[in-house]
Symmetry: C2
Subunit: 282 residues, 2 copies
């Protein structure tokens, strides 16, 4: 596995592969890799000639009061995992290589990024789309892989690619869960054992909602109330950003049935923000 | 010359050329081509295997009270000129192909785009950088050519390319002028004969400023006053957006000398806004 730290070298390396007729699969990550990431990595490995993974904790997508500094980092462990997965290139740029002192260009997907998490994390998706646009221009992938756990991020990035005419196919991969149902996330590492045990509430709540929908209940107001109550009753929950049933395309809250619906939630356990969602065909 | 109207076909055509090892020179225009455009076109033709010119009057870069509707259009004349210049591809997309109904992604170069023209045309450069990012992703040029007449646009686009890690070389070409000095612009067509005769005031004013600077005068406040007076005295001038001597890198107004300085002005003659600038080595 080649480790590249400079955008220019990464770009030239990708260019060389493309000119030799190779396609490139790309998994952009913030590191601290878990089985969720690795499922994307394996798919990128299978479906492409060249597999590239980036590790870059992007300061621009964290709010001033958010967890940029304490975000988990494990370069050594990550590198080992990627070598085992037979990845060709690990791209690991420095912050100063990605953002020069006078950096001032931003890419923003308006509207859809202002909903759900966008309400509670202003500027977050602007940071995501800016760094993803940069990474896409540097790595020039044929396909890029994202996890469904960050459902809104997937929708926003698909819109970015479509609106800016980027020649990249976005592959959304299923959420990988712990045995007890908790969606894998680097932020799970913040939870102490009591919090960790109770954190499955978000999975249980979404599963219950999914089952109610599948059973034919169409009173989404009622289902939302049940979801909200289940989460509120859990003592370790310190806050609810949102919980409900949403339109998978527009991310608007649904009042009535559609072919496919998205129960989703964002909650706080102590100082840790957790999100999860499920796509339900009705 | 091949005429392409669909972003997808343009992108696939460019991809084919790149995979065959060809480089691509690109001149994005809003049509109504004059000798200024043609100087860029010729350079693109000379320096690249494949020369692509786009004609697209981009609605997003016009303010609500600006001249989008009356902006001059001459597809037939333009096509004829480009055939004569031996251009390979004319890319001429429809508005609906560039902006779908739910389009919502914008690229913005902050700070530098808020100065000079940015003060008077809010949103203008956001529209420019968005369409240029799209066109760059569609055409994937090796080199793209812009005229120095739109000096701020050149600076903004260079910043866009640098900040978003686009693999494109931006070539800035000298301003082409009418015999009497007026910088060529599609908007010159708006001027009636009285206005046209008097419109050289902007050239005369910039030339005078340049000569004062070259002669060693370093009191830029004084030079600015002279420039302002010269323009104000011209009866057809209906307004001055800005006039002065600026830093070619930061576009800030200069109070003292630098290696290279930029006398520049934006004025109104009737309902026509004209801009011009000169780079002066001191």
């Amino acid at each position: 596995m080649e480790i590249i730290r400079t955008p220019r070298i990464m770009r030239d390396t990708s260019k060389g592969h493309i000119l030799r007729g190779k396609n490139i699969g790309f998994v952009p990550t913030m590191g601290s890799l878990h089985e969720g990431h690795l499922s994307l990595v394996r798919r990128a490995r299978q479906e492409n000639d060249i597999a590239v993974v980036s590790i870059f904790v992007n300061p621009v997508q964290f709010g001033p009061s958010e967890d940029f500094n304490r975000y988990p980092r494990d370069v050594e462990g990550d590198t080992e995992k990627l070598v085992k997965e037979d990845i060709d290139i690990l791209f690991m740029p420095d912050i100063t290589a990605m953002y020069t002192e006078d950096f001032s260009t931003y890419v923003e997907v308006e509207k859809i990024s202002e909903k759900l998490c966008g309400v509670f994390r202003p500027g977050h998706f602007k940071g995501v789309t800016t760094v993803v646009a940069k990474l896409f221009n540097i790595v020039t992938p044929t396909r890029a892989y994202f996890g469904q756990k960050d459902y809104q991020q997937c929708v926003v990035i698909k819109k970015l690619v479509k609106d800016l005419d980027m020649d990249i196919y976005i592959v959304v991969c299923p959420t990988i869960r712990e045995k007890d149902g908790l969606a894998m996330s680097s932020r799970n590492a913040y939870l102490d054992s009591t919090q960790r045990a109770a954190s499955t509430v978000i999975y249980r709540c979404l599963t219950e909602a999914s089952e109610m929908i599948k059973s034919g209940i169409i009173d989404f107001g009622h289902i939302k109330k049940v979801m909200h109550e289940r989460i509120s009753k859990e003592p370790v929950v310190s806050g609810i950003d949102y919980v409900g049933i949403y339109d998978p395309s527009t991310l608007d809250e649904l009042s009535g049935i559609k072919d496919e619906v998205l129960p989703a939630a964002a909650i706080w356990i102590g100082n840790t923000r957790l999100i999860d969602n499920m796509l339900v065909k009705t």
